[in-house]
Subunit: 351 residues, 2 copies
DNA sequence: TGCAATTATGAAATGGTTTTCAAGACAGCT
DNA sequence: AGCTGTCTTGAAAACCATTTCATAATTGCA
């Protein structure tokens, strides 16, 4: 028996996973090109330590057989895995809550930037809510670093994470003492722009729609307050948030309106929320800009076509994805990158 | 010298990747718990072949040190990697084009469903446009299967892929002869619902907004035509698509309107596109539902708050993510799953 | 021609886990 | 006591690619 097996000579015994697919290994390519595995490896990694002739032969064989290097074996071998974990704040997009497609535009940018650098993008599962789960995920996958899109109410966890020497970049509020690297837009400035818009329109009773437990939204609220200073008799109201983070619904707005004298200015945390505001106000017979001013956030395309067209704060995010990735890479390479704040501007439309 | 090294006894020589992190291996846990690696492995995988006492000791050590199994090593060892690649049609969300957040809701569902099954989600890079690139990516990552969200204009590629024995599930148009497993909603039915809405409102000059090179959209268009049969003198126009797939913009609609007698009914491929239509029509002094009927698609939350509130086709997608994953898993396990078509219904609102 | 320096290549070790196989411990039985 | 069978454990191989080190081949030079 034992003899038979020895005589069978190598390749026969390999149990291949799926039918047909016949996953090729570097070994196979080496054999076919009549070289050793290291040589194949060198060719595929563009090492100069290889004859032009050998290189071509190997490349030819590899191409002909559609060989692709096994990334998992690579990842195992190297300390660096070329894998980046991305955490997405899905919270805002489940259960009919009002979320903007904004985060996903960010994701698109990140995906593209990572792809350019040949990095794999591993999307983290929902529910990575504590440091432990987060770190375990990171370790187990051997990700080089983490990009968190949407700081949400996780500021505390992220701060704790900062001490765990996991390369980490967060899209969200940028603060000096965060202990982690944040990239985000100037939320304070954005809030102030909204406030100035209200001042210019002589509005006096302002409403902020958004959950200020979110650091980003808190800053926008602070910006709003800043703009109110120096103007007499401005009151700023906060929409009472009943439930979970970011889950402002049209009903929340409507039920708020039922109880109070209506505001004459509303600053909503997202354009989508602004749309809900317009709907709820209309039911009360309140029309913008006649009865109130309204400023949204993010400048998503439909805002321009909405009736009335929504005045909004535009975050320059076309470069955001690339910037997030760049900052992460710096960190992975051992640098300590400085946070970046992108400018915001107001897009004045009808409201 | 050699003696010194031998005497140093094992752990010292390991070059650890990043400072502090001190990545633990199963070996370390084994040593600390005074057992062998296989035993640790067995414990961690819940094998019954281990004493209760040993199990507890190992678990204790593992927990105390925050050990997490190296997934990359696991992936290398197994034929099955527990990794699913997901391809997202970002096309619709770049460069200011009008895309719906719809795809992302799907992504959220898929992410959640995969997480429940403890599968990793690898987001594929943009630009996997041909069979070769697609297959190479799949192979190199050792993904067990592929989920494609948004068939787009890739039907042909996907069909070719069907022959490559890659487990594959596509969200999109469901057809009998596709050769790959599709999950999607009843686009034909959705189109017919829109058409019936127009018939009921005695509209005669219909416009379809959407690029029918997309299989899904073509089916909706076919459904629309079906509804037109049996009604006299209905004409259906197609919005001429200038540029890339799905990139209908407000300008496209406006320039179309400039050249023709305006339609009295519009069926838009997405709610977001419907919003653009409303904007463009308003500029021509055309108001829904006074001057035309309008039906959108996807029933995204803002549609309800839009002015006028948009009549739309609702796809029951709360289960879609789970369904996509389920179908993929069946396929990975060797079954040949049947395509699934989810029902659609019309949500009648003001338009 | 002989020697050193350079270049191209391969053998073996490595990374962390799982699996197979064999061995050891121990209980139950005659 | 001796045997069989069950239960728990560990040694070694395997997964696939990369890296180090050593060897073979070639060139340059005296």
């Amino acid at each position: 028996m034992a003899y038979q097996m020895e005589m069978s000579g190598g390749t026969i015994n390999k149990p291949r996973g799926r039918s047909g697919g016949a996953r090729l290994t570097m070994q196979d390519i080496a054999r076919l090109a009549d070289v050793s595995t290291p040589t194949v490896s060198r060719v595929l990694n563009g090492s100069p330590l290889v004859t032009e002739e050998t290189r071509e032969r190997v490349l030819e064989v590899a191409r002909a057989h559609g060989y692709a290097v096994n990334r998992n074996a690579q990842k195992l071998r190297h300390a660096r895995t070329n894998t980046v974990a991305v955490m997405l704040d899905f919270g805002s997009h489940r259960h009919g809550a009002i979320g903007d497609p904004f985060i996903f535009e960010l994701l698109a940018g990140v995906s593209e930037a990572l792809s350019v650098r040949n990095q794999d993008l591993l999307l983290s599962p929902p529910g990575l809510d504590d440091v432990r789960a987060f770190r375990d995920f990171h370790r187990a996958r051997g990700a080089d670093g983490f990009i968190v899109l949407g700081q949400g109410t996780r500021d505390e966890m992220l701060r704790a994470l900062g001490k765990h020497d996991i390369p980490l970049v967060v899209w969200g509020a940028v603060s000096q003492d965060a202990g982690y690297c944040a990239v985000g837009s100037d939320n304070l400035g954005g809030g102030r722009l909204a406030g100035e818009h209200f001042v210019a329109n002589r509005r006096r009773r302002w409403l902020f729609v958004g959950d200020i437990r979110h650091e980003e939204l808190r800053l926008r609220y602070e910006g709003l307050k800043l703009a109110a200073q120096g103007v007499r008799n401005v009151t700023i109201d906060l929409l009472p948030i009943a439930s979970m983070a970011f889950t402002v619904t049209a009903e929340t707005v409507a039920s708020y309106l039922a109880g109070v004298a209506p505001p004459d200015a509303v600053f909503a945390f997202s354009d989508t929320a602004a749309m809900a505001v317009i709907g709820a106000f209309r039911e009360r017979g309140l029309i913008a800009p006649r009865d109130y001013s309204l400023v949204g956030y993010n400048n998503i395309p439909p805002s321009a076509h909405f009736h009335p067209a929504i005045t909004t704060i535009d975050q320059k995010t076309d470069v955001a994805g690339a910037l997030l990735v760049e900052k992460l890479m710096e960190q992975i390479d051992g640098e300590r990158p400085v946070p970046v704040m992108l400018p915001t501007r107001m897009v004045k439309r009808e409201t």
